[in-house]
Symmetry: C2
Subunit: 142 residues, 2 copies
């Protein structure tokens, strides 16, 4: 397996070298908004410790990520009054991975509405911030 | 949230009332082949305890599932000499869920090859068994 590259964009976000819309943080994990959302409210759960994906992540980091994925799935459903949620993890480029720091996609879903394709188009900052605010509000009600 | 229905097909498989091609089992989890594979080697990680999806699963079961997902991702990559892996969890029908017992899809992926659509077509038993044998062999080499 290819080694972890500490200059990937999520590592830079975690070090504060790049901005992000952070909606949740604990000892081991951080949740940021996807700036190329496939649906309004699309967020990403990251372990703070370096790992490339599920093939090399340590067990404690994986468990911590999943507790946060669960928390965000519940928050996303509530925040957007969603009918469902889709959770995805992509391993290596062939598996759909674009940034090589472990992350889990959490996507609110609505009956009859497909996810937008991953076009690489960056959403307006105010759209992403508004979705982040809804997630933060849902999290704060717990 | 809708209550857990103990007559869903994965619950029946876990109780031995329906057959399955099981490739791995431990105290808290079991891995069966998807009989409608979107790629050769498509398997499903199930918690043995009842839960509908990530919204209601208990923390210990979720952690156990993810340890098994990690094990299966590593095995799938090795067994099929895959370039990557995709991991999916679907929550409620709008999120893509078809069977309402928590499960994680683990799909070996190959550069340039898309997943087949979920057509509902059942694969020949010998095809599924051959893929299961490859996964078992990869697991036994650990």
């Amino acid at each position: 397996m290819t080694a972890y590259d500490p200059d990937n964009i999520f590592a830079k976000i975690l070090r504060g070298e790049l901005p992000s819309e952070t909606v949740y943080e604990d000892d081991k994990t951080r949740v940021i908004m996807d700036i190329m959302p496939r649906v309004d409210g699309h967020c990403l759960v990251l372990p703070k410790a370096p790992s490339r994906n599920i093939l090399d992540i340590e067990a404690a980091d994986l468990s911590a990520c999943m507790a946060t994925v669960q928390r965000m799935a519940i928050a996303a459903k509530k925040a957007f009054e969603a009918d469902g949620v889709t959770v995805q993890h992509f391993v290596e480029a062939a598996g759909g991975q674009v940034v090589f720091h472990t992350h889990w996609h959490v996507l609110p879903r609505f009956a009859g509405i497909s996810l937008k394709a991953h076009t690489g188009e960056v959403a307006p900052a105010e759209t992403v911030r508004a979705a982040a605010d809804r997630l933060r509000a849902a999290l704060s009600e717990d």
